[in-house]
Assembly symmetry: C2
Homo-oligomer: 276 residues x 2
């Protein structure tokens, strides 16, 4: 049994909610027509990324009750789980860099990014809850947003909590050109995360240019064995058929299990806990 | 200021202590003549790897007082730190898959592998102490052995404890051929470990064949930025000049610090601690 996973490496227009609504609905329909059962959209795909201030972001903010999520569910036509990022505004007007998982069965699960990147710290408040693992008919899906994935504490937590797939809406800013023959660093981290946790990882980057910022445009779907199943070389839609049940075994040799081999008797609680 | 780091991807002969002594002393001398200041030798380089039983390993076992370490120190001629693996036997006859770090200033630090791979579980007892971080004139060096590196709890611990370099004696069994264009999975993990902790990593694999087992032969030195500084394509000696002080800053953008950004207020102690 395989699940078809798609990343739609879209190019949202900064602050143009209407454009981004039309674009995302079309992308979800397109993915579902291609047989996709899990559709991952970029970080902040409803709003764009490069806000200078919280006030500017707030003008593109949405609540958890925004009708765009109804439109995404309708576009998925009961066939696919949809995960995507949006600029969330809460009752108090506080902005969060958030993601939603929409289940065709009706559930809506939200997550607020806990590890903010660079200028995001001037725009968004960090989330104060660990990311969820959401059971779906296709498997258990853990949510992360972009820079979150670079914290092994968080990826390990999701894997231990039973995630079969980590869905990672991202905007990977183009900050360095990798050495010749190498993947972007974010892809290396995604591959290693998959490998050491035996969990699938789907990272959806974005494209386009915003206020001079370009993007890595390297959306990547990694199988639980750590090898790349599909990767964007500039194209918008990438897909892979993965056996997500494979993530449930952590056995990697006759005598090794990635979770059972953990030396939880030795790991220092101080490494995880707040330092004084 | 840079430090010259060498990995000597040797081929020990199973159970032939004399051969392996001569070989390792020559390799250390060769590395020091090439200007090396940190010499990393493979896992179990004094003994070979493919023991069928603890009794067989015991015949190649050494205590922490073995004279081979004096020979290694003499070969380093006061110029280099030497790290290498050996089959350790304790007073009770228990076998450990161990590593030693020999400092030219005189210190000797030992570590017993805590995460055993496959048949090692039939031969060795696991160590019951976390790996050390050893201050040396070239920087703080953390020790790991092979499969240990695949546990982010352990690599994070060493980085948080101040390691500038992770020295990783390894025997990477050749179990799969990576997809075309990809590094072996162990190298991907080493690159990601370096990147998310901003710490240098030097993995010394072995060569040769033992009882039908071949090796990946992909010794790799990774800089703190996560990119490969030197990698074996079959040759025995690889070297890289690294600025190990670079590992001391965890700043990766104007507003991001890999350690300060950790959400230790959220990470679950249960993820690190013993489960019932």
């Amino acid at each position: 049994l395989t699940t078809t996973i798609t990343c739609s490496q879209l190019s949202p227009a900064l602050g143009d909610l209407e454009h981004n609504l039309t674009m995302t609905v079309a992308a979800i329909k397109d993915a579902v027509e291609h047989g996709s059962q899990v559709v991952v959209l970029p970080e902040l795909v409803t709003s764009g990324y490069s806000f200078a201030t919280a006030a500017e972001a707030r003008a593109a903010g949405m609540t958890r009750n925004d009708s765009i999520f109804d439109d995404w569910i309708a576009a998925a036509a009961g066939a696919a789980v949809v995960i995507g990022g949006f600029a969330e505004v809460d009752e108090a007007g506080t902005m969060f860099n958030s993601a939603v998982l929409l289940d065709p069965a009706g559930g809506r699960t939200f997550y607020r990014k806990t590890h903010l990147w660079d200028r995001e710290k001037s725009v968004f408040a960090p989330g104060n809850e660990l990311p969820p693992v959401v059971p779906t008919q296709f498997g258990a899906i853990g949510l992360l947003i972009c820079y979150d994935m670079e914290f092994p504490e968080l990826t390990r937590h999701l894997a231990l909590a039973g995630a079969d797939l980590l869905a990672v809406p991202a905007n990977w800013p183009l900050l360095e050109i990798p050495p010749i023959g190498e993947h972007p660093a974010e892809v290396v981290i995604a591959m290693s995360t998959a490998r050491v946790n035996h969990v699938a990882v789907a990272c959806c980057d974005r494209s386009g240019e915003e206020r001079g910022q370009r993007w890595t445009q390297a959306s990547t779907i990694v199988a639980a064995d750590g090898w790349i199943a599909s990767q964007s070389n500039g194209q918008t839609l990438i897909s892979a058929e993965l056996d997500l049940e494979a993530s449930q075994t952590k056995s990697i040799s006759q005598r090794n299990d990635l979770f059972a081999d953990r030396r939880t008797d030795l790991y220092r609680l101080e490494d995880a806990a707040e330092h004084d």
